[in-house]
Structures are given as C-alpha cells and as structure tokens.
C-alpha cells in the first residue's frame, strides 16, 4: 500500500519537472535559450570593457556537436550509475522480503 503511494507520487514529481522545462519553451518564443553565462560575460563587458580573460580553456570541444556528445555522455554515465544502484537495491530488498 505504502509503496503504491510513493510510486504515484514519483510520477507527479517527474511531470512537475517536465512541465517546468516545457512552460518556458512555450511561453517565450523569441529566444534561443542560450546559457546564462553568456549574458554574464556581456555584463562584465559592460562594467569593465577593458577586461581580457587571462586564461584560455586547455581543451575546448571543436564545436557544438562534440560538446553535445560530451554532455550526453556525462548524463548517460550518471543516469546509468543511478539506475544500476537503485536496481541493485531494489533487487536486494525484494529478495529479502520474499525470504521473510
């Protein structure tokens, strides 16, 4: 009974996250949704126009494609690890409850 309630809650949580991401996309049409950092860079340019970054990234992805590959890889590895851990815990707890 208790487990059913949490799983229902979990679907609510997931839909909340999805809604929060979709609403801005629907509400604001004339935007590219670029990174907030780019805007911060522009503000720095406003405040101190003469400021020059004194260090460059050692390795930068050559373009958007490679960058998105690396981001996807990062999310994939993380999600895989979470899935593995939760799956293992679930298997263990189910085995324990059947033995009892």
């Amino acid at each position: 009974m208790k487990r059913q309630r949490t799983s229902w809650n979990n679907w609510l949580l997931i839909s909340g996250v999805i809604l929060l991401a979709i609403i801005p996309l629907l509400a604001i049409r004339d935007s590219e949704f670029s990174g907030a950092d780019g805007q911060a860079e522009a503000v720095i340019g406003d405040i101190q126009p003469e400021y020059e970054p004194w260090f460059e990234p050692l390795l930068a992805p050559p373009g958007g494609e490679t960058e998105s590959l690396l981001f996807a890889l990062q999310a994939g590895i993380g999600a895989g690890t979470i899935g593995y851990a939760i799956g293992l815990y679930r298997g263990k707890s189910e085995r324990n409850s059947t033995f009892k």
Binding site: R3, L20, A21, S31, S34, E41, P57, F71, G78, R90
Partner: protein
C-alpha cells in the same frame, strides 16, 4: 521541409552572429568562465576552497575504508550531481542553466563529502567541456561544492526539526542549495567586477538578475528530482540509510 530549412538557416545565421559578436569559446558554463576572474580573486577562492576539499577527502577515505558497503550509495550521490550538471534546462528568463545536484549527497553523507564529489564534476567539465575553468575552479567549487551542500545540510535538519516531514525537508534543502550556489556566484562576480557607479551592490544585482532568476524554476526542478531519488532510497535501501544515520555524527 521548407519551414525546416528556414529554421536551420535562421539557426545558422543566429549562431554565426553570436559567435562573431562574442568571439568566445563555445563554453556555456553557468559557472564562472575560464579566465574570467582576475588573478588575485582566482587565487583567493582557491585558497578558501582547498581546506574544505582536503577535509572532505579525508572524510571520504575514512568512510570507504570503514564502510565499504556504502560505496554504491556514494557513487549514486556522485552520479546524481554528474547527471544534473549535464542537463541544461530552459528557464523563464529565456536563457538556460543547469541544476547542481549537491543537496542529495550533502544530506545523505555530509557537506564535506559532497565537496569532493562536486569538485570532481566541476573538474571534469572544466577539463573536457571548457565549461567553467581551472583558474575559476576554486570560486566555482566554493559556491557549488562548499556553500551549497552546507546550506542544504543545515536547512534539512532545521526543517526536519520544525516540520518533521522528510520529503519537505529534502525538497527545500535541495532547492535552496541550488539557488544559493548561484547567489554566491553572483557575489563572486560582483566582488571582482564592481560597477563604476553603485559599486559591488549594483553589480551584484545585475549578476543575480541573470543567474538567480534563471535558477528559480530550476531550483524547484532540482528539489523535485532529489525527492524522487530520495523516495527510491527510502523504499529500497533502508539498510544503507540506517547505517548512514548511525555514523552521521562521525562524518562531520
């Protein structure tokens, strides 16, 4: 087909315009970009951050040695930050940012252990993705991996004492930790770049307007996702959580 072509043409133009105007590396860090903190500030934040990292490393070594059965849970906490930092989510301000995912590990283990896990994520992104940076790693780690987790931990226990509901406490802890991270980022930028008129405060309002407002819906998302994983853990891994509860005081 025609609209598709138009969209891609528009995108190509927009991208090339942005690239030429800004002439910046493709980095889209929500953290402070490489080289964008003056040398003295970069060093200052590095010095402030390092003691927390070293203490966290010691605590992490201790826990993996004494309680090897908790390694999987540790990996899960690390993986959670890893995933969330990769998700750039559109926000109400028309720009994108990503969650931090530091609340879960801070509450499960301790803020200091989360300092180590969060720093590794930042290092990965600085080295491979040109996202954030090595010179700004001290500042970024201080906001995301030191202050964020500390606030999460404190708030979790405070709310638990007042309200008594674990899910409410974990939601607030994760959401506020996320927001605070970017408030600290704004403060770090304001300290380094005070406005000619109005000084640090006026700069802070400008930076906070960019970072913190964008972050509000993301903070809520992060809170919801943290509760989701928390629910799974409560349902399936009571054993580990009990071990953690017993050793919690030792971790601090």
């Amino acid at each position: 087909m025609k609209t598709k072509q138009r969209i891609s043409l528009g995108l190509i133009t927009a991208t090339s315009v942005t690239v030429t105007i800004l002439a910046a590396p493709p980095a889209q860090a929500m953290h402070i970009m490489e080289g964008f903190l003056p040398v003295t500030w970069a060093i200052f934040w590095w010095i402030l951050f390092l003691p927390f990292f070293l203490l966290g490393l010691r605590s992490l070594n201790q826990i993996t040695k004494d309680y090897p059965e908790l390694k999987l849970l540790l990996a899960l906490a690390g993986a959670f930050t890893f995933v969330l930092s990769a998700l750039k989510i559109p926000s109400v301000t028309g720009s994108s940012s990503h969650p931090t995912g530091t609340g879960l590990g801070a509450v499960l283990f301790s803020p200091l252990i989360m300092t180590v896990l969060g720093s590794f994520v930042l290092l990965f992104q600085a080295l491979l993705l040109a996202h954030g940076g090595l010179t700004t790693l001290g500042a970024n780690a201080f906001s995301m991996a030191v202050v964020g987790p500390m606030v999460a931990y404190g708030l979790y226990h405070l709310v638990l004492r007042i309200n008594g509901r674990q899910t409410v406490a974990i939601f607030l802890a994760a959401a506020v930790a996320n927001l605070i991270t970017y408030v600290v980022t704004s403060l770090q930028l304001a300290l380094a770049f005070p406005a000619p008129e109005g000084g640090i405060l006026s700069s802070f309002i400008k930076f906070a307007g960019i970072f913190a407002v964008t972050q509000i819906p993301l903070a809520i998302s992060e809170g919801l996702l943290t509760v989701l994983v928390w629910n799974w853990l409560v349902t399936y891994s009571q054993e580990q959580l009990q071990v953690l509860n017993q050793i919690k005081l030792k971790l601090l």
